[in-house]
Amino acid sequence: MELDKLPKPEEMQIDLTPPESGWMDTPVNMRDGTYSYPAAAKNLKILDMPNPREWSVTADDWKLPQNWQEIILEGFKERLEKYRSFKLFMDICVRCGACADKCHFFIGSGDPKNMPVLRAELLRSVYRKNFSTLGRMLGRFSGSRELTLPVLKEWFYYFFQCTECRRCSVYCPYGIDTAEVTMIGRELLNLVGLNINWVIEPVANCFRTGNHLGIPPHGLIDMWEFMVDDIEDITGIKVDLPVNKKGAEILFVTPSGDYFADPGTYTCMGYLMLFHELGLDYTWSTYASEGGNFGLFTSHEMIKRLNAKIYAEAKRLGVKWIIGGECGHMWRVMHQYMETMNGPADFLEEPVSPITGTKFENSKQTKMVHITEFTSDLIRNGKLKLDPSRNDRFRVTYHDSCNPARAAGLMEEPRYVLRNVVNNFFEMPENSIREHTYCCGGGAGLGNDENLDMRMRGGFPRANAVRHVRDKHDVNRLICMCAIDRATLTALMHYWAPDVEVGGIHELLANALIMEGEHERKLDLRGEPFSGEEEDEDV
């Protein structure tokens, strides 16, 4: 640019400040770093999903089927007849704006279409046009509009810019849940082949091989054995590794992020050590090796297709009940969908802890217990020997993952475990934890690389609350109960609060766990000395 043509500072803002035109007339601006790449055709083919093709988000032509409008409207109608939530949420919003400043994407970006109310209005406007008498009659005055290509692009952009975290739903006077709206919005997009690869590839992999990365069974075994070796190095104990073991009492399912991705792997080692120490009769499965379910980010049908493996495997192996590991959206599926979709699991028994004899009454129908429910019961009954001082190097805070907090009500159990395994635990500000928790910004399939800027923006409210406790209490470890969190919060902290590391609950538990026959432990699961830097030289 020539110097004399440089814009003045006040001119620079012109293209950023939208004119006071209404939202209906403001088309979406796809910027690099804020959208996700489309799903590869091969993945759609594996899943028999419609319109597999290679296409680009920034291209004008999205290679849609000729009658795409008809397909979407047909799908719209079908879903209005199937989901009361959807129909109701289309009808009763009064646009009071209570949700507006609750969305982490809006808080971080200021983009008005990230206000939950407007995100839903993107669908509602089309709903009014096609399914409401007054809307059809009054046209734009009632806030209705045609389903055009720009509208569709807007849907794609903003429904893949919602992490389905449900924070807005907590504040809505009518309980309107944007996650429900986004889920249906994505289902509609899927009907014409609009989806993102970071969702569809894990789905395709999971469908075929049982886990998101598409690791075949022998690869899994290899990974687990690797962990067993690491544990032996650290503790001197070779832990059991039961895989696909028929007749075991318990099937253990956890997200595959725990097998492959740091820092989830340390949590996974924690499970292995805990179960070994208890002498639990349990098994891992290579077929049902994925707790996470990216079907949740695709369609209700896809949730069911992927989730079916859990009960099927439990039945095949003849276990009595199931324990689920630390994961976020996995627990939304297990808690709210699994039993309705693939149950009743009457071939299983009501879960009873073999160690304490505690009946898990709250899981008597689904027969699936959350690992922190299981562990907190152990601690409560004094079944674990713990030395929390081993974790003294860590000043810990806890991030409630959206789904366990707002869709399952799991808030106290993880805290109870944490308080028993660390000495320094600090809560983040009240309006950013428990049911008010801020999303990591990378849930619902948005945790990909191309979308990094958007994630950093969306995750800023969370990171900012972490920074608050970091500055106030020198917090250096952010604990979470979700595989996606462990991955995306790591990146988020790297950018916003570089001295805070991310980890899982059972990693810290395993650090503190005094195992029978262990040699003197100097290193934590990450191979770092318990007491901090001064012993570095000894090692």
């Binding site: 950023l16 008005p112 991705a261 740091d262 800027d453 800023f460 991955a487």
Partner: protein, 176 residues
Amino acid sequence: MSQTLEHLLLKKRSAILKRWLDLIFDTYPADGRSFFASRRNRIANPVGGAIVDGVDKLFDWLMQGEKSDVRDICVFLDNIVRIRAVQEFSASHSIGFVFFLKHAIRETLDSELRKEQLHEDLLTFESKIDSLALLAFDNYSQCREQLHQIRAAEIRNRTSRLLERACQKYGMPSEW
């Protein structure tokens, strides 16, 4: 900086800062603008909080004259630049906010500057703002660079165990 200009800047501090903030918030969409500008707590409105605080500190730093420490200012600057580095598309948009201060000062002190013939002093002060902008540019580049590192680290982390195992098993170098 002459006594008079400093005096004026201090006297009109709040007006200048307000104008500067307005200009910064104006770079956001109308609806976000009002949300960011609303006086709220940092947990509920972290962007607004960081910008309001940051602007305050930057101005004070500029007023400190010779005593000011560059390391301090980098921290304050970072609070704002780091946010804008992931919000805005272009570098100029991200760091241009520094120059808005010039605009805010000229606008707020217009008549006084004329009356007291302070334009020369102003130029001196403005060159300091220019240095600030250069620092902001460094800072912006660091942020973007960091994002690239995060990207790489993330891909590595995602399958770290697999790769480590593969390297071990097949004798490949583990550094990559």
